[in-house]
């Protein structure tokens, strides 16, 4: 059966391998350049003791390659659409299930081997792209500390593997349910995009209870490096919180914390436009503090693991549906 799967999909495999090779060459060349650029900049700023400002002065890489790397966010979706969607749907559509299912190989084995190789290929391909992107982004990560940003988080580490496996499973399952290739592909795009957005925007920040830090406006410490600030705001003298989500209207940015001017003590409100040197002592004197809730950078791999797990579990559920549909329904 493996031979059959290879014979059926080897052209897709060659195409994918060629695309990956081209991508690898681009990233290896530009990544090496960026790494050495970063190292030399680091060496020179260490001499002049001005490394704290390096993130603002150093720009790494070309915009075109950065865009290419950013676009790898669609790789799992493409795999789901072009590998997952047609995998069983096309066989139903062209009637070749009626050829395959009357050979001396059971449907169960037919499905297991096909799906197994598709998932393995998706994991390998998604993983390979992610390894390249993660390595390529190393200097940028060290410079900007923004690995929790969705634009970084979603294309680095192990989550792309989970996304790819899920997307392919989604394509296979919709294909098995609908038995039509094009609708299966379309639904795969829609459902995958929707789930990625929902999980990323609504669930991800809740994987672990966020830490809270309260600070005085006068002696505001720097934000924890690389942390993902989930929320922030102001604590009043009575302990009442004005988080960035509450209140409406325009927000002031005070030490990285958005604050609605309406929530400022009346005595200080007039000082808003006179600069922090006057505003902060005023607020401090009236018992106002700032706070942030955040996920520390040390949790990065835990978050990566949890998100990957969520998508792998969803993939498993879809594969169970696929197995039931393919094995129980008539050919």
């Amino acid at each position: 059966m493996t031979w059959v799967v290879w014979r059926q999909h080897r052209n897709q495999a060659y195409l994918a391998a060629a695309a990956l090779a081209a991508f690898a060459i681009v990233l290896l060349i530009t990544g090496t350049q960026m790494a050495s650029q970063y190292q030399s900049a680091l060496a020179s700023c260490t001499v002049s003791h001005r490394c704290s400002n390096l993130a603002n002065t150093l720009t790494l890489g070309s915009p075109a390659v950065t865009l290419l790397v950013t676009l790898t966010v669609v790789v799992p979706c493409l795999l789901g659409v072009f590998w997952g969607g047609p995998l069983v749907a096309r066989e139903f559509e062209t009637g070749t299930t009626q050829f395959a299912w009357v050979q001396s190989t059971t449907r169960g084995r037919w499905l297991t081997v096909k799906v197994g190789w598709a998932l393995l290929a998706a994991a390998a391909w998604g993983g390979a792209v992610s390894v390249l992107v993660t390595w390529w982004s190393g200097p940028e990560n060290a410079l900007q500390h923004q690995i929790f940003q969705p634009s970084q988080f979603d294309i680095q580490g192990i989550v792309p593997i989970g996304y790819a496996v899920f997307a392919v499973a989604l394509g296979i399952a919709t294909g098995a349910l609908l038995r039509r290739t094009l609708p299966a592909m379309a639904i795969t795009v829609g459902v995958f995009t929707l789930l990625r957005l929902v999980v990323g925007q609504d669930f991800r920040s809740h994987y672990m209870t966020a830490l809270t830090r309260t600070f005085s406006f006068v002696h505001a410490p720097p934000l924890p490096a690389g942390a993902w600030v989930v929320a922030g705001g102001m604590v009043g003298p009575g302990g009442q919180t004005f988080s960035s989500q509450t209140g409406s209207g325009a927000h002031l940015n005070i030490e990285g914390v958005p604050v609605n001017p309406a929530n400022l003590p009346a005595a200080c409100r007039a000082l808003v436009f006179q600069g922090p040197q006057k505003l902060f002592p005023c607020m401090n004197a009236r018992g106002y503090h700032g706070f942030i809730t955040y996920q520390p950078v040390g949790r990065y791999w835990v978050f990566q693991g949890i998100e990957t797990g969520i998508f792998v579990l969803m993939a498993a559920a879809l594969l169970a549906v696929t197995a039931i549909v393919v094995l129980r329904r008539d050919a």
């Binding site: 059959v4 009626q98 009357v102 050979q103 001396s104 190989t105 449907r107 169960g108």
Partner: protein, 304 residues
């Protein structure tokens, strides 16, 4: 009818298949002994495809029992190895060559006769290295048939196998099939809505109409059991009482009756004649036109 000295390769009892509100096959009881070439005949939508798919295990029955080669059609490699099934649509991978299909068969079947396919295609002048999608319909059908035979099945289920072939190819193919059966160990069921296609080759008949089995048995026996009576248009209740009336055509001057005999016909007013297979089939199909509701439902059913 069920009792037979030959071991039955196919034995169904009360087999039925419903799709939501549509009945594709109803209460089908069929026996096919080993070594026969059985003609599965019926009008379009009679349930021929459904019966073949149930026998091959591609569809599950909604009721009744089915035994094929002494076991229930199942997802079991040993069962599948014994069955050769060719769907009416001639499903092949259009972007693959004949040689690719031979390779697939070799990897999926325990006793695969790749040589027989190559030999057959070469004798028919069908290229092995050309994409199947570029072959003619007849060539594709020949390839699919050769691939189905290469499995060396014990039971061959062919759905309208000759529909895509020209008359000469039909004759050659059926002769080829008869040879394979003569070699022993093979039983064949092949469907068609045209009697003439199969008359020469088949020795067994399953007649389906309106989702029901009308006749099943040895063709010679069935022909001997039936008779056509031509006589005056008079009261035929005596004949209908003693025999089973299959079909009657009454004009102003004469009545033509097809009966299934229970003993000899001794009414001197009627002239008795033997029936041909075609007359037999048409007689039973004609009977069904009196229940158009059923026929309509079953026509929808076959598309499922």
């Amino acid at each position: 009818m069920m009792a037979s000295s030959d071991p039955a390769v196919i034995q169904t009892r009360g087999l039925s298949k419903h799709y939501r509100n549509v009945t594709a096959l109803s209460d089908a009881t069929v026996t096919v002994p080993e070594g026969r070439i059985s003609a599965l005949i019926g009008p379009n939508g009679a349930g021929k495809t459904t019966l073949l798919r149930l026998l091959a295990g591609l569809a599950r029955p909604t009721g009744g029992e089915v035994a094929v080669l002494s076991s229930r059609p199942a997802q079991d490699p040993a069962f599948l190895a014994d069955i050769g099934f060719l769907a009416q649509e001639i499903p092949l991978y259009r972007r693959f060559t004949a040689e690719d299909h031979i390779g697939i068969g070799a990897h999926l079947n325990p006793r695969w006769d790749a040589g027989s396919v190559r030999k057959r295609l070469e004798s028919l002048g069908i290229p092995l290295d050309q994409k199947v999608g570029t072959l003619s319909g007849g060539q594709r059908a020949q390839l699919a048939l050769a691939l189905t035979l290469a499995k060396r099945p014990r039971l061959l289920l062919l759905d309208e196998p000759v529909a895509a072939l020209d008359p000469l190819a039909r004759r050659q193919f059926l002769a080829h099939l008869a040879e394979a059966v003569a070699d022993g160990g093979l039983t064949v069921v092949l469907s068609s809505h045209l009697v003439a296609d199969l008359e020469r080759t088949c020795d067994h008949l399953i007649l389906l109409a309106a989702s029901r089995v009308q006749l099943c048995g040895d063709i010679d026996t069935l022909l001997a059991e039936h008779q056509i009576l031509v006589g005056p248009v008079k009261d035929t209740t005596a004949i209908e009482r003693d025999h089973t009336l299959v079909h009657a055509v009454r004009t102003a001057r004469q009545a033509t009756l097809m009966i299934r005999r229970n003993g000899p016909v001794i009414d001197p007013a009627f002239q008795a004649a033997d029936v041909s297979l075609e007359e037999l089939v048409l007689g039973y199909m004609g009977q069904q036109t009196t229940t158009p509701a059923h026929a309509h439902l079953s026509m929808i059913g076959e598309d499922q």
